[in-house]
């Protein structure tokens, strides 16, 4: 669990950290969109270059970064294997019952693999360099237009920031409870699958109970300070849009143009 970095924030102060979270989120989602424009080796080449380029220039610890993404690599590999064996088309190299390796299957599974890898790399980079609360703030800003459609944007934003806020707390608490049960003789790394799942019961029950009581406490604390979900509120962290953020968006537009030029 220690090595997993998906969704984790590591403090730092490089240009990627200073970029406006709104710009970073828009770019990340935009990237996930345009990755589907890539349809030949050249266009994938451009996207890979872009992804690796950003990682290289972001000045995050490369070794730590790639090591942390590695567990997900295996998850993707399973998806890719399905794609490889179940897709038909073109020359068939090998066949066994419903499974076959075909030319089409090979290329499409390679593309699926690259796509997944790049999406994961970019989104990990986003969460690695952006504080969770900043992400919540940015989502709130970006959802603002939906207010006109009577979407409860403030409440959604509050829910997101509360959820994010309690991720580390829950992690700590899980660890603390696991330690307490270990001290009472539970061995989480012993026995078969069933035994291991059973060993989690003494962790999950206290975790649930504590989470509910904490949610109750939080509600009381907020109400006692006069929190009202519908009241207009000022904000403590104000996001500022800089020229570099516009620059980043322009860069994405240029990337799109290049991508359209080189694709089939």
């Amino acid at each position: 669990m220690d090595k997993m970095i998906l969704g984790r924030y590591v403090p730092g102060n490089t240009w990627l950290y200073r970029l406006d979270p709104r710009a970073k989120i828009v770019i990340s989602f935009y990237f996930i969109g345009i990755i589907f424009l890539a349809n030949n080796l050249w266009s994938y080449g451009v996207m890979i270059l872009f992804t690796l380029g950003i990682i290289a220039f972001s000045e995050v610890d490369q070794k730590f970064f790639f090591k942390g993404v590695r567990p997900l690599f295996f998850l993707i590999l399973i998806t890719v294997l399905f794609q490889l064996f179940l897709t038909r088309g073109g020359t068939i190299y090998w066949q066994f019952g419903p499974f076959a390796i075909s030319q089409y299957g090979l290329t499409s599974s390679l593309y699926v693999f690259l796509r997944f890898m790049m999406i994961i790399l970019i989104s990990t980079l986003l969460t690695l360099t952006t504080q969770p609360l900043m992400i919540a703030d940015a989502i709130e800003y970006l959802l603002m237009p939906l207010k006109k459609l009577h979407v409860p944007v403030d409440q959604i934003a509050l829910m997101i920031s509360l959820a994010l806020r309690f991720v580390p707390t829950l992690m700590d608490e899980t660890l603390a409870i696991m330690n307490a049960q270990r001290a009472r003789g539970v061995d989480f790394s012993e026995g078969g699958l069933f035994k291991r799942i059973k060993a989690l019961v003494p962790v999950l029950i206290p975790l649930f109970v504590n989470t509910f009581s904490r949610a109750g406490d939080l509600a009381v604390a907020m109400e006692s300070r006069g929190y009202n979900g519908d009241a207009p509120r000022s904000r403590y962290r104000v996001l500022h849009w800089h020229r570099r953020d516009t620059g980043a968006l322009v860069f994405m537009a240029v990337l799109t143009v290049i991508l359209i030029l080189v694709r089939k």
């Binding site: 220690d2 590591v10 403090p11 730092g12 995050v60 610890d61 730590f64 608490e173 603390a176 409870i177 330690n179 307490a180 049960q181 270990r182 001290a183 009472r184 003789g185 539970v186 061995d187 790394s189 012993e190 019961v201 003494p202 029950i205 206290p206 109970v209 504590n210």
Partner: protein, 287 residues
């Protein structure tokens, strides 16, 4: 069962950019049957140190020797059970570990994990419930229906049920009412005396250190800055206050009296010792 730390360092999140130091070059010995208090600010490394006592954490550098077991960073995670049976840890807010349907089953959970039969474990549980001062009628009640203080007692019973030879207590009385506190602290002292248990207590209550401990270790920023007896520690009030630790009430009072001209050859740690030192002086003044 002596416990020895030799050049122990621990680093959190080793080999990542967010690595930070938990313990730095710790050397100490906790003797079998002693009552050791570990004090220091929050973040000074107390809890990290505790988790080394039954190999929940393994030292990044150095060795921890517990009885005949030696733990280094090479130690395998298997076969730690015998060690964990011998060293029982009551963690902070121990009531958060309760999960069973009934109080009895929860206390019996530990012994059962260590291979004691169910009926025997429940028997131990009934005995321990009494030891921590709860009536037998709570045996079949859900632990979640108890008050916070009662839950704490059940959790402590759950650790005592392992019949450990070393009992580690991480602020066991934080948040308890004064009566429960006194009862729990008396219980621990009694266990140490009657069953020769080694007790290691983490606390912010200097009066508990003065009243019960015979050995005190002060941690600061992951390092041991004092390893001595409570008497020796509290007789250097300048050191204690400079490191923001605090003094027992009686000692604090004595320091103030000394500044007013009373004679104190040795600073008292307890109210009784303070009275003993003061009475002759006050009687002399009366004459």
């Amino acid at each position: 069962m002596d416990i020895t730390f030799k050049n122990v360092s621990y680093i959190y999140d080793m080999n990542t950019p967010i690595a930070n130091l938990g313990l730095k070059n710790i050397n100490l010995t906790i003797q079998s049957g002693s009552y050791t208090a570990i004090i220091g600010h929050t973040g000074s490394g107390k809890s990290t140190l505790l988790q080394h006592l039954n190999a929940l954490l393994k030292p990044s550098e150095g060795t921890v020797v517990i009885g005949d077991r030696t733990i280094t960073n090479q130690t395998n995670n298997k076969n730690l059970k015998p060690l964990r049976k011998q060293v029982g840890i009551v963690f902070q807010f121990a009531e958060h570990q309760l999960f069973e349907e009934t109080v009895g089953k929860d206390i019996a959970f530990g012994p059962m994990n260590f291979g004691v039969s169910e009926s025997e474990s429940l028997e131990i549980a009934r005995e321990m419930l009494q030891t921590v001062g709860l009536e037998d009628k709570y045996f079949d009640v859900s632990p979640f229906d108890l008050s916070g203080g009662q839950m704490r007692r059940v959790a402590i019973a759950g650790v005592l049920a392992l019949k450990p030879s070393v009992l580690v207590l991480d602020e066991p009385t934080a948040g308890l009412d004064p009566k429960s506190r006194r009862e729990m602290m008396t219980l621990f002292a009694q266990l140490q005396k009657e069953q020769q248990l080694t007790i290691i207590l983490v606390t912010h209550q200097m009066d508990d250190v003065a009243n019960y401990a015979d050995h005190v270790i002060v941690l600061e920023k992951g390092q041991v800055i004092q390893d001595t007896t409570p008497k020796a520690l509290f007789n250097q009030p300048e050191f204690v206050l400079a490191h923001g630790i605090g003094l027992p009430k009686a000692t604090e009072f004595a320091v103030a009296l000394k500044a007013q001209g009373f004679e104190m050859s040795e600073l008292p740690m307890t109210t009784a010792a303070l009275i003993e030192g003061l009475t002759p002086q006050l009687e002399n003044k009366g004459k």
